[in-house]
Amino acid sequence: MTNHKRRLAVSGLLVAALAAVTAACGNAETPAADSASDAPAEPVTINVHTFGGGENFGYDAAVEKWNAENPNIQIKYSNLTDRFEDVFLPQLLQRLQAGSGAGDIVGIDEGAMGLMAARPQFFLDLGEYGLQDRKADFPAAKWEAGINADGKLFALGTDIGGMTMCYRKDLFEKAGLPTDREEVAALWPTWDAYLEAGKKFSAADTGAKWMDGPNTIYNVILSQEAPKNGNVSYFSKDNQLVLESNPAVKTAFDWVQKFSQEGLTAKLQAFSPPWNKAIKGGDFATMGCPSWMLGVISGAAGDENKGNWDVAAVPGGSGNWGGSWLAVPKQTKHPKEAAEVLNYLTGKEGHVAAFKEAGAFPSSLPAQQDPEVADLKNEYFNDVPTGKIFSDSVKDLQPVFLGEKHAQVKTAVEKVLEGMDQGAVGYDEAWTKFVEAGVKAAG
């Protein structure tokens, strides 16, 4: 009797368990089936995934405006991470390979554009959605970088870096240096003059260092030297590694070494928590500032430092560091809507809104010429006319060719620079290690 009851109980339990499992599996299926047939009535959500510190791409206002005006296509804007090379890029590659999980629109930094262009199988051909007509809006090199190995358009430009030098007004005052931005620009027409100003600042003993660390200054100088050397950086235009032979790289390296040896750096690694803390705490007085760095600084330094940071022209003339693109992964379920949203975000409205919010200077010509951009003053940085400064900075810009493995080589060699600055790598062996790391990263 008890045997029979127990058997019944066990089989009953098994049946109940099986039923629960199949019900759970079954429930996941039904909503998807419903939405497919209900397509016009339900709003389509387009996920935009970007990266970057501080205000990053600056699309909050633009997204709000679009969502209010377009109830049937809603944008969900998420900034996934501060760091592009170590977090955003590997994650994006994994999701592209897996075939799901990437946003409907993804941001791509200039360093990885070569890599993405070599993988046309993962991205939507924007030409099929009429975006081919945007060609006139962009300077040639910004447009060219968005054409992939199959010759199709896969990405449109967002911002362009340009170059300035940000400085701490209050620290300059304490050290007895001029604080007006014209005078500051006159203080450092060349990098030698910048070095001398740095020595003077250190002698004043304010407790702060002249600059943050090797990464930012290295990229500034490299971006200036590259146009003087055939517009190439680590790779020649046929994707050969020219790290060792390119004078632009050696010059930038030598300057970083000099600044480090003079003890002018705060030995910080860029885009790390201690670096953010130092921006807030005023532990260094100057830093190379492409347009997007303004957003990073205002985000990291916070409201209490409003007016403490200012912007002056950079020593050594203009250059371009950074700039991003937006692309649509082929795995998206709403290609038409995603292309529409991408058109908006990379259009004049999107660019102007991003510039106002994050200081990211537009790469599209109509946006650059818009009086809103040209006359814009950045409140956080003492009402500096950023529109005018960056317009001048990018006017004669020759964009530099970045090879397929640019991001990898960049990360590897910058690690050696940090090691040299922090004392883990000796100054005399640093160049050899630098080249070694670059060659290894290029694979």
Binding site: Q94, A424, G443
Partner: protein, 318 residues
């Protein structure tokens, strides 16, 4: 006088006995497998399949979201001569020794102390286990702050004694010590409790007999406690070895950013970090990383065999 009672049940039983017997046979033989199957099904999907797939992938020259080319055992050949890989192995073993040896010795001593009659025994025993409750990432983040070059607590203390602030991330020895302290802090209590539980199963008569024979507490510890604890010590050493050789979270958090290089020149890059760096940073070489993962497995086998050989000799050969 005939046994009338026996017949009626016998009529009914043949029909009911057959399905009943099959059911009870399944109940006896088949049910255990059914009950254990969920674990093994999950293990097959999340344990065995990735193991085999990783090996298959290690035979290819593969790039993440890129091309895949058959390469045979060339990834392994390249690894064996890769200085960075051996640097990672050196770091891993270098962190493993200060992270495991003092930890287990301390755990033994702690367990011995907790076994005595103390006031507030439960409080002490729970207190020793408290570090286990915290999240590994949180611990690593806090400790990394404490070891910060400019504002860290340890440098401040060293400063009080007149020592220059140490850049803990810059050297091998300093970064190894820092990471080892994180691991020790967390796992000592756990090992102590396991050893304590084992100690309490040692019959008291042995100690009484030894005391009568005039053995000192120290002698009792070495001659009674340790040999009786041998199986547990073997377990604890095995688990610590596997944990130590696959160390990942603490050194990654120590770096501050998820760059996986383990310091500017790989001062504290462990093999697990090396694998992630090869697969998801730099050149995204997942084939090469898969080969490194299998070599790590071989390394762990090696390590546990060495440890087994050592622990066998506790309390005399058996």
């Amino acid at each position: 006088m005939t046994l009338q009672l026996a017949t009626p049940p016998r009529h009914a039983s043949p029909k009911r006995a057959r399905p009943g017997r099959r059911m009870s046979r399944f109940d006896l033989r088949g049910m255990p497998y059914l009950l254990v199957s969920p674990y093994f099904l999950l293990f097959a999907v999340f344990g065995i399949f990735p193991l085999l797939y990783t090996f298959w992938l290690s035979l290819y020259d593969a790039e993440l979201a890129g091309d895949r080319e058959f390469a045979g055992l060339s990834n392994y050949a390249k690894l064996i001569v890769d200085a960075d890989f051996w640097n990672a192995v050196f770091n891993t073993v270098g962190i493993f020794v200060p992270a495991t040896v003092p930890q287990i010795i301390l755990a033994l001593l702690l367990a011995n102390a907790l076994n005595k009659r103390l006031r507030g025994r439960l409080f002490w025993r729970l207190g020793v286990l408290l570090p286990m409750v915290t999240s590994v990432v949180a611990v690593a983040v806090v400790f990394s702050q404490l070891y910060s070059r400019d504002y860290g607590l340890f440098n401040w203390i060293l400063g009080l004694v007149g020592i220059e602030p140490i850049a803990w991330q810059n050297e091998k020895w300093s970064s190894w010590i820092a990471i080892a302290t994180m691991v020790d802090w967390r796992w000592t209590g756990y090992n102590a409790i396991i050893l304590l539980a084992a100690m309490q199963t040692i019959p008291k008569d042995l100690y009484e007999a030894a005391a009568i024979d005039g053995a000192s507490p120290r002698r009792q510890f070495w001659q009674i406690t340790l040999p009786m604890l041998r199986p547990t010590i073997v377990f604890v050493v095995f688990i610590s070895t596997i944990g130590g050789l696959t160390l990942f979270t603490e050194p990654v958090m120590f770096e501050g950013e998820q760059i996986m290089t383990g310091g500017t020149t790989g001062q504290y890059q462990t093999v697990a970090m090396f694998i992630v760096e090869q697969a998801f940073r730099g050149s995204f070489q997942i084939g090469y990383a898969s080969a490194a993962a299998w070599l790590l497995f071989v390394l762990i086998l090696f390590g546990t065999m060495i440890n087994y050989w050592f622990t066998r000799r506790i309390g005399g050969a058996r």
